[in-house]
């Protein structure tokens, strides 16, 4: 049997996107929610088939351009589909009645399709196309509240900085094309070994910077706190839980074609990882707005992933790559949950009361008394982000740490200690939020809050349960993270 099923993972959400839009325009707007959810559930079928079916063909060519499903693609697909499904479920009540609701779902589906495509692309330029399409589809989503100045401002920064990044990526592609005469990643990889390095090093630098904007490497991160805090909460979850990770995967893919320099890239990742962790935590410590704090904490979590990949590339530690993949998955769960829970509070406290403002930490005082479920799930997300057992974040951080110590290199061990201290530092801003929610005295905002709809609660519970289960049984995700880790290492020729 030689079925090529995996492109349907890309085709279904992409195809559903205009349909959802049309359905919203022509029929009732409320249909779009169900339709979008249905489309995403449908996209799970090819994904599941890949893992259960045998003899499935995992590459697919449109003339000269190939698509391929390897460990990295499947990781990205899993992350995207999982959070996408939950976010669509969550957005049902959250976005109900907004002007442009149908565009929201259309773009969300398109973005999901583009990201899965990005993970599968084998041709360097085609890869950029997916990347750019993902960016274009997310601009509207970030600036969705176009009557709110701050949201527009965030959109502008996001757009311009992404565009600058994409210019760098294109320059890198031009350099690679000029040097190797090919755009197919495998061909490039086999050709780069024999070439003089400096041009390719420049291409690599362009890739790091170009994709780095999306990954939010410090100091390319400046768009992130704005965009993540101003977007509708479902989109914040997607941006933080999937989009920046997609950027990271894109960066790895592009850099891996220049494999000869992988040790240098590894060191670079370690450097950026260190910077990201420290900067993200110190900035998050200063925040009073919940979503902005979460946005900064994304920076520090990207730092952990970079650290894991750095260990893998500079020292050949598979545990590092696998840990990074694991943390990527867990971060999707944890940060997705955190943003969605924050969104649920914003919905109940503000949107339902026709108020549009940002959620401050102090608004959450006493939240647990009125919203026990949302407060509990939010606490789980925050504590997991802080790396407390028995939650998922602890396990993936641990795996990354193991890689650092297995290297036996004093510097790398020092970095692990630094990362662990950063985890402690991060508790200094996660714990007070949890504490605030469990206060006895309710704040005004909570007093006036309306109820949280069932669909939102279901999505929160789904994510929270996954976090706890994975925390207690970390090898549960090995089927996903192990191939991804191997794929990362083998792509870099380690």
């Amino acid at each position: 049997m030689n079925l090529t099923i995996f492109p349907w993972m890309i085709a279904v959400p992409l195809g559903a996107s205009p349909l959802v839009y049309l359905a919203g325009r022509l029929f009732r707007p409320s249909w779009v929610r169900g339709l979008a959810l249905f489309a995403l559930l449908l996209s799970w079928i090819p994904f599941v088939l890949i893992f259960t079916g045998q003899g499935m063909q995992l590459s697919f060519n449109v003339e000269t351009i190939g698509l391929q499903a390897d460990g990295i693609s499947l990781l990205l697909a899993a992350v995207t589909l999982a959070l996408g499904t939950v976010v669509v479920l969550f957005s049902g009540p959250y976005m109900a009645g907004e002007v442009g609701e149908e565009k929201y779902y259309a773009m969300l589906l398109a973005m999901i399709g583009f990201m899965i495509g990005l993970g599968c692309a084998k041709d360097l330029f085609n890869f950029w196309m997916w990347f750019e399409a993902m960016a274009v589809s997310s601009y509207l989503l970030v600036a969705f509240y176009r009557e709110v100045p701050a949201s527009l401002e965030a959109g502008v920064k996001y757009l311009v900085q992404s565009a600058v990044g994409s210019v760098f990526v294109l320059l890198g592609i031009a350099l690679v094309l000029g040097n190797t005469g090919s755009l197919d990643m495998d061909e490039i990889r086999s050709a780069t070994g024999t070439l003089p390095q400096s041009g390719l090093a420049l291409a690599g630098a362009f890739f790091v910077i170009g994709f780095g904007v999306k990954v939010a490497l410090v100091p390319l991160h400046t768009w992130l706190p704005d965009a993540h805090s101003q977007a509708p909460s479902g989109i914040s979850a997607m941006l933080s839980g999937v989009v920046i990770e997609a950027g990271l995967i894109a960066m790895l893919r592009a850099l891996s074609t220049l494999g000869i320099l992988s040790v240098s890239w590894g060191m670079l990742f370690l450097g950026f990882g260190t910077l990201n962790m420290l900067f993200g935590n110190l900035m998050a410590l200063q925040q009073t707005q919940v979503k902005r704090m979460l946005a900064y904490s994304s920076l520090s979590h990207i730092g952990y992933m970079l650290l894991g990949i750095g260990f893998a590339l500079s020292d050949g530690q598979q545990a590092g790559a696998q840990g990074a993949a694991f943390h990527l998955f867990n971060h999707m769960l944890m940060k997705g949950l955190a943003f969605l829970a924050a969104g649920a509070f914003m919905f109940a406290l503000f949107h339902q009361n026709q108020v549009q403002r940002s959620l401050e930490v102090k608004d959450l005082a006493g939240a647990a008394r009125k919203y026990p479920l949302a407060a509990l799930t939010f606490s789980i997300a925050l504590l997991a982000l802080g790396g407390l057992p028995p939650l998922a974040g602890f396990m993936s951080k641990w795996q990354i740490f193991v890689a650092g110590f297995q290297s036996g290199n004093g510097w790398l061990m020092g970095l692990v200690i630094f990362a662990a201290l950063n985890s402690v530092l991060s508790l200094a801003y996660y714990a007070p939020v949890v504490n605030m929610m469990y206060r006895q005295k309710m704040g005004d905002a909570i007093e006036q809050g309306k109820s949280i709809p069932l669909a939102m609660n279901i999505s929160l519970v789904l994510l929270a349960l996954s976090i706890v289960v994975i925390g207690l049984w970390p090898s549960l995700m090995n089927w996903l993270t192990e191939p991804a880790g191997q794929a990362i290492l083998s792509a870099f020729g380690q």
């Binding site: 900085q161 390095q197 900067f279 545990a319 407390l388 530092l425 206060r439 970390p474």
Partner: protein, 581 residues
């Protein structure tokens, strides 16, 4: 059977925690009942574990990839500490029935207490360093949640976060040790580490040893991390008794004791442990001399007594340290709970406002005195035997200067304990506090603990027998209780120590007029500032916050600067590539 019991000891409190979390705060009676039921069930299953103590691993679940195996080894050491955690835990819960009556959010309170009991049992029963760390972190979380229980009070919130951050910073030492173990041996098993110390590179073993010392010092509030425990006294008093006196703070001592055979030959380790114990015991005893807050005074004395245990491990007195741990858990829990009864009745923690309360609450006074006598180390209470054993070990195996220091601490302990008792229960009533005798639940807990103070020392023989039978790596000489009594009674050191204790008592008695008023002494500021360590903590905090607000300026919000960041990073990457090529 053993496996089932081990699962029960951890599982019952955790299931109880889940159930209690879901109970409604509208039904406090149900909450109290459930909490008491679950904690007693946990206590009983821990006691049932006693005859099954074994050096074998009874549960072994492979976790896959880099997480090693989840193992539980209920040897004598682990079982003893499990029993301490579960039994004192259930007594604290029973005490809470009266103490927490009418408090809001009891579901959160009891859920965390039960979660803590299970985690503490898991911590000591775990045979894998990774999972030891796992439970270690959960106990820290529970401790944080319970210190900040009255979270409308900023002091409680600040105390909680301080405890969390400081113990977590120390926890990094344990984390590093676990990681080094796995990286060099491919296993997290404690037995593998102790078995392979010879084959490990000396520098790595040293790192593990000192990493664990760091973790232990932070958890047991030893020097230089002793600042968090006094601030943790914002917790409800049963929590102070359970977590911050009888169980969690023992985790550090347990860690040192557990790994003692692995690290004893690491150069400088034993001496460092001795010094840490000595300094902690000395400075906190000093701080307790002038303390005016009843719970803080008890907290200082806790650190001081933990210092004794750490010191005992440093001088090789493994059994003595664990014996004192047992005694201390009992008498300190008693003292804390009795203090809780006083505070609950008097509505204040300030000893300067108390006085002559003994007439109104004779029962509490009597049990408090029992606890105090044990703390001073007077015969024939349990504190006497264990403290004398430690001092004897110190004299025969440790450096003399350290012994002299510890002897001094014994005198100071007698002084501040008597001062405390005097200020609260005797002398003149300084304020008209309307106190009342305690409720029945409180009396049950207090009574049981009071009985413990003059009976647990009788267990020395069986205890040493069990340790000797089930510990593979520690060399414990079996010693019957009678032998212990003989050994202590016929050592001249005992009388020296008793003389110092009497001296301490005498000095207080002579100066009781001054001391009893609780006047601000000149060195009071030193105590309140923990000899400058509070200042250090503040500096670290403010530096971190300052760094944060300095960095905030980099987020200008202006697009041009953002693009500048991108180009600057490009320049840095190019420079790096040119440099590395």
């Amino acid at each position: 059977m053993t496996a089932i019991l081990v699962s029960l000891v951890i599982g019952i409190p955790w299931i109880g925690a889940l159930i209690l979390w879901r109970t409604s705060d509208e039904a406090p009676r149900l909450q109290h009942t459930l909490a008491v039921a679950f904690s007693i069930a946990a206590g009983l299953s821990s006691l049932a574990l006693l005859p099954y103590a074994t050096s074998n691993t009874v549960i072994d679940i492979p976790m896959g990839s880099v997480f090693g195996n989840l193992t539980f080894t209920p040897d004598g050491l682990a079982v003893t500490l499990t029993i301490i955690a579960c039994v004192i835990g259930s007594l604290a819960v029973i005490f809470s029935v009266d103490y927490m009556k009418g408090e809001a959010q009891l579901s959160r309170y009891y859920a965390f207490v039960l979660l803590f009991i299970g985690a503490m049992a898991g911590l000591v029963l775990s045979g894998s360093i990774l999972f030891m760390f796992f439970f270690w972190e959960i106990t820290a979380l529970c401790s944080y949640a319970l210190i900040s229980f009255y979270n409308d009070d900023p002091k409680a919130v600040a105390g909680g976060i301080k405890a969390l951050i400081i113990t977590q910073v120390g926890g990094v030492g344990l984390l590093a040790g676990a990681l080094i173990t796995y990286a060099t041996l491919g296993s997290y098993q404690i037995s593998d580490l102790i078995n392979n110390t010879e084959s490990m590179p000396a520098n790595l073993l040293g790192l593990i040893a000192f990493g664990f010392l760091l973790a232990a010092a932070a958890k047991s509030a030893q020097f230089p991390f002793h600042t968090w425990l006094p601030d943790a006294m914002e917790a409800p008093t049963p929590i102070s008794a359970l977590i911050h006196a009888a169980t969690m703070v023992n985790a550090g001592v347990y860690l040192l004791a557990r790994f003692y055979p692995a690290f004893v030959h690491v150069p400088g380790w034993a001496l460092s442990v001795t010094i840490v114990g000595l300094i902690s015991a000395l400075i906190t005893a000093f701080m307790a001399l002038t303390a005016t807050d009843l719970k803080r005074a008890l907290a200082y004395s806790t650190v001081s007594q933990l210092g004794y245990m750490v010191y005992a491990i440093g001088v090789g007195g493994f059994f003595a340290s664990q014996f004192h741990l047992l005694s201390h858990a009992v008498f300190k829990a008693l003292l804390f709970l009795a203090a809780g009864a006083v505070i609950h009745a008097a509505g204040t923690r300030d000893m300067r406002r108390m006085g002559a309360l003994g007439r109104q609450m004779p029962f509490v006074r009597n049990v408090f005195i029992l606890g105090a006598l044990a703390l001073m180390g007077l015969p024939i209470l349990n504190g006497f035997w264990s403290k004398e054993l430690i001092l004897e070990m110190g004299l025969t195996h440790g450096p003399l200067w350290a012994y002299v220091g510890m002897l001094l601490v014994a005198g100071m302990t007698a002084f501040y304990t008597l001062r405390m008792t005097w200020l609260v229960f005797f002398g003149k009533a300084r304020e008209a506090l309307h106190v009342h005798e305690t409720g029945i639940a409180m009396k049950i807990s207090l009574g049981l603990l009071a009985i413990g103070t003059f009976t647990t020392w009788l267990l020395a023989g069986p205890f040493s027998h069990m340790l000797q039978q089930t510990l593979v790596f520690h060399s414990v000489t079996e010693l019957t209780t009678l032998e212990l009594v003989e050994e202590i009674l016929f050592t001249p050191a005992t009388y020296g120590a008793l003389a110092v204790v009497t001296l301490g008592l005498g000095i207080f008695w002579l100066g009781r007029k001054q001391a009893a008023v609780g006047k601000e002494a000149r060195f009071d500021i030193l105590s309140r500032e923990s000899f400058g360590f509070e200042w250090l903590n503040r500096q670290v905090t403010s530096l971190t916050l300052q760094a944060g607000s300095a960095l905030q300026k980099t987020q200008t919000g202006k697009l041009n600067w953002n693009v500048m960041g991108i180009l600057g990073a490009l320049l840095a990457v190019l420079a790096f590539l040119l440099w590395s090529a």
